[in-house]
């Protein structure tokens, strides 16, 4: 079987009917979070879409993002997308290992120079010359720079790649940085989440595949179509929030009634992601529906943003020590200043020169 040049060919080779293609287009449109009326346009674009090469780099990561993708529906739409993309390097998924693996990467880079996509999961340690993570003797930093050089665009998959994630959490011993801090001259799409929703990953890839460019992004470089609204705005428990009905513990009456989880630390209001609509596990549920607040995993620095079970409005860290020091210092300084001023007053009184009738006469005009 010759390597399919377009998606249509690829689907035909797999014996998928035109009906199947239309279904695929409808679902892809849905996956890209575009309105259903755009499905015909998507179909037209996909008829002529080229088959891009994808190089997947895994750096300081836990493989959770790949897990998220591979553990999703099977055989899935995502799979079709991935089958269609020529996944030329992914050291977890590819059969080749060692030198052969690295060779595959270099070959893909050469053959598709300027046209291939790079997906990155994991952050990049840059401290001490990037010694904290290497693949085949090449530091992550160097491999990223090499690989990105001839790329058309970079997709940072997962919060580690997008914002630094767990490795970058305080105190960040490896000097981990996200992709966007290292790649300035190529378009970078951040698909954040720990892990990201699989359909969002494939949606972004589908968008590139369909339209040949990256989707519209928010201030954090995330595709607006998935990260445009907060969890809170789309949460089915939002009416309880508006009414001020909150679960106080995980097993109280409010929790059983499905009230808002704000007080249990839900970060929904400050978290932008598609969990509340797309949901997880084939649209079964998402954390809030399962009775647990949102962690805010798709936001920068979510590990350092206070306790997971601390409400958003609570302070981070204790204030007791600060308050005690402030009271002591304030009292000490205040008493000292007050007493000093009192003694100044008394001193002035001792120095006081009596007002006499002569003084009155003197000032008479």
């Amino acid at each position: 079987m010759t390597k399919a040049k377009t998606l249509i060919e690829h689907l035909e080779q797999q014996g998928i009917s035109r009906r199947g293609f239309l279904k695929f287009c409808a679902l892809t449109t849905s996956m890209m979070a575009l309105p259903p009326s755009m499905a015909p346009g998507v179909a037209r674009a996909l008829e002529t879409a080229r088959r891009p090469s994808l190089i997947w780099l895994s750096f300081q990561e836990c493989t959770g993002c790949t897990e998220s993708l591979t553990r999703s529906h099977s055989p899935t739409l995502e799979n079709i997308i991935f089958n269609y993309l020529s996944l030329d390097y992914h050291h977890t998924l590819q059969a080749a290992s060692g030198e052969a693996a690295e060779q595959a990467r270099e070959t893909a880079m050469k053959e598709n120079h300027g046209q291939y996509l790079v997906a990155v999961d994991g952050s990049i340690p840059v401290k001490d010359g990037g010694v904290y993570s290497t693949i085949a003797g090449i530091s992550n930093l160097e491999m990223l720079q090499q690989t990105v050089e001839g790329a058309a665009a970079v997709v940072a998959i997962g919060t580690c790649a997008a914002f630094g994630g767990l490795p970058r959490a305080h105190p960040n011993p490896t000097g981990a940085v996200p992709v966007q801090e290292l790649v300035r001259d190529k378009p970078v799409v951040n698909v954040s989440g720990c892990p990201p929703i699989p359909v969002v990953i494939s949606g972004v890839l589908a968008h590139y595949l369909t339209f040949g460019r990256i989707p519209d992004l928010d201030d954090y470089g995330r595709p607006l179509s998935f990260f445009g609204t907060s969890i809170h705005d789309r949460c089915y428990r939002r009416p309880y929030y508006n009414k001020g009905l909150f679960a106080e513990t995980f097993d109280d009456e409010g929790a059983r009634k499905g009230w808002c989880l704000y007080k249990l630390g839900c970060k929904g209001p400050t978290t932008y992601n598609a969990c509340a609509t797309v949901k997880w596990n084939q649209g079964t549920s998402f954390p809030i529906q399962a009775g647990h607040g949102c962690f805010g995993c798709s936001e920068p620095d979510f590990w350092d943003a206070g306790g997971f079970y601390q409400p958003l409005s609570a302070g981070i860290g204790s204030v007791g020590g600060v308050a005690a020091v402030a009271v002591a210092a304030g009292a000490g300084a205040g008493i000292a200043a007050g007493l000093a001023q009192q003694s100044q007053r008394k001193h002035a009184q001792l120095q006081h020169e009596k007002v006499t009738v002569a003084d009155l006469k003197e000032s008479e005009s």
Binding site: I16, G20, P36, Y240, T277
Partner: protein
């Protein structure tokens, strides 16, 4: 999980009703302008409770069809003629997408020219080469 329905503190379903209203307008557009509408339910905060409400409101219609392309697709006309539930499944039977289509016949049910052509080729091959029919489409 979702609260029980008899809970008096339960806020009104906030998605099912607007969707029902959208469907009403869609039917009106179809009747007057022949314009079709598709509502993608997977892009809305839409849960089982909403779906139950919507199914109850729309009822079941006369047509039920199952399509086997890239996994199964179920097409079910609702009690409101012209309003269809279209659900796409993958090969393992997991729902991939759920739509409400407001149209006379959902597109997925129509036979596609490309597929017909493939069928024609198959028939040509079976009946011998003496009188091969070449479709107009192919000539173009």
């Amino acid at each position: 999980m979702t609260a029980s329905a008899d809970d008096d503190q339960q806020p009104p379903r906030f998605n099912a009703k607007p969707i029902l209203n959208e469907i009403r307008h869609g039917v009106d557009r179809l009747l007057n302008d022949g314009q079709t509408t598709t509502i993608d339910l997977s892009r809305l905060p839409f849960d089982a409770e909403d779906e139950r409400y919507l199914r109850e409101a729309l009822g079941d219609g006369e047509v039920y069809a199952s399509v086997n392309a890239l996994g199964e697709s179920k097409v079910q006309e609702t009690g409101v003629a012209g309003v269809w539930w279209v659900t796409h499944f993958d090969a393992a039977g997991a729902a991939l997408g759920k739509y409400i289509e407001i149209t006379t016949v959902p597109g997925i049910l129509k036979s596609q020219p490309e597929d017909m052509l493939r069928g024609l080729h198959m028939l040509n091959a079976r009946l011998g080469a003496d009188q091969t029919i070449t479709s107009v489409q192919e000539q173009q």
